[in-house]
Symmetry: C2
Subunit: 215 residues, 2 copies
DNA sequence: CCGAAAACTGGACCGATGGTAGGGTTTTTA
DNA sequence: TAAAAACCCTACCATCGGTCCAGTTTTCGG
């Protein structure tokens, strides 16, 4: 039971790296089992077919992603009460997490699945959608708390602003990979942070006044 | 000569749709020739191997992309002299272009290639990088013209802000595809536009004054 | 309208791959 | 110590990328 778990995780590690480098369709089971040091039968003992591997891969990825976000924005909430400051701290911590990844971010499984939709069954597609919806809802709740205290100068749809984080991250990962520079992603997150800060900041002539109290 | 061009384009159309739906590795030559109504020999008459197909696909995509940007931001430059207003108009026009795509944006070849790097040879990878560099340089030049007239309140790296457009578009496409709603991409571009507008706008107490003259 | 180049067709073949099936063997754990 | 878990071995099949080569039709410039 314990041994099986370890092998399963090893398969997932190897498969994930390959999928993010070559795509799911081009990831062969043969190369996975060769790298994992098992036989084909061993592989099919853990996964009924390739689609079950895909589901397990994506599921593990989004679970880990949510865990990281919980941790980062949880710590940020501990550090300060003001929703805007807390969110800004969270974004900075998130940028640090990405900056500390050795070799940069390996790629987003959600994006990878999205660009190979027709390869997967409905369960995988649905899991992908659900994960994105959950992420958008999370950031939307943060922004709602901010907007309640700091009314933005120009009205901007909070849903769109919440989705923008995912877009920035996915786009930033692509930019980093294409340019061969992991720092591009970090800079994008910090730029988003700066723009959010500006958007919710009181106009300049009030800059010297103390911030409003949290509700 | 003309007939050959037409067939070649048809192959590229079919291949592009398949690549954006299933990935390059899972796109089989057999299905391409079946859909195109030609034989395998006919395919290899036009493309030496699959990698040459990949190069042609990507090359056609980035060329068309640049043409659209030239057109959109060229028209925007015609419509107004002020660099900020011109840029904002361009972004709105770009959003309209995406909104008018029937069935939404089919996907970005650059992102697709990025997520299947190991499948392609150096020429393809290099073309991908070059295209992104060119796009970043284009938007950076627009932003430079703006910053020269409207000094931003908080200093924000123009390169990062320029790259942000590509990130927003690539991320917006993914968001649109995953959510099954083409409008997500449009909203992201308009949100970027609003944030840029805010970033380069003079502080509120000067809002009623006329904008500065262009250099 | 003709001839040459362009644009294909047809078929045979190879090695590798994804995936299936089923019967064995070792390892772990309760 | 026995059963359940975690594998291994072998054989097999259809598909795919890719090659080769010999033919045939289509197109178009002169």
């Amino acid at each position: 039971m314990r041994k099986g778990e370890a092998t399963r995780e090893r398969i997932l590690d190897i498969a994930q790296a390959s999928v993010l480098e070559k795509g799911f369709g081009a990831t062969s089971i043969e190369e996975i089992i060769a790298a994992a040091g098992i036989t084909k039968s061993g592989f099919f003992y853990h996964f009924r077919d390739k689609n079950e591997l895909a589901y397990a891969l994506l599921n593990r990825y989004v679970t880990e992603d949510m865990r990281i976000l919980d941790e980062v924005f949880g710590r940020a909430a501990d550090l300060c009460d003001d929703p805007l400051q807390s969110f800004l701290v969270g974004l900075k911590l998130l940028a640090e997490v990405f900056a500390d990844l050795p070799g940069g971010h390996p790629g987003c499984m959600i994006a990878s699945v999205c660009y190979q939709e027709r390869l997967f069954d409905r369960r995988v597609i649905e899991l992908n959608r659900t994960a994105v919806v959950a992420m958008n809802a999370r950031f939307r709740s943060y922004l709602e708390a901010i907007a309640a205290v700091y009314p933005p100068r120009e009205p901007l749809d909070l849903d769109t602003l919440a989705e923008m984080i995912s877009c920035i991250i996915d786009g930033g990962i692509i930019m980093s990979k294409v340019m061969g520079d992991p720092n591009r992603l970090v800079r994008q997150i910090l730029a988003y942070r700066a723009l959010i800060k500006q958007h919710f900041s009181p106009p300049q002539e009030m800059a010297s006044r103390p911030p409003p109290l949290a509700a």
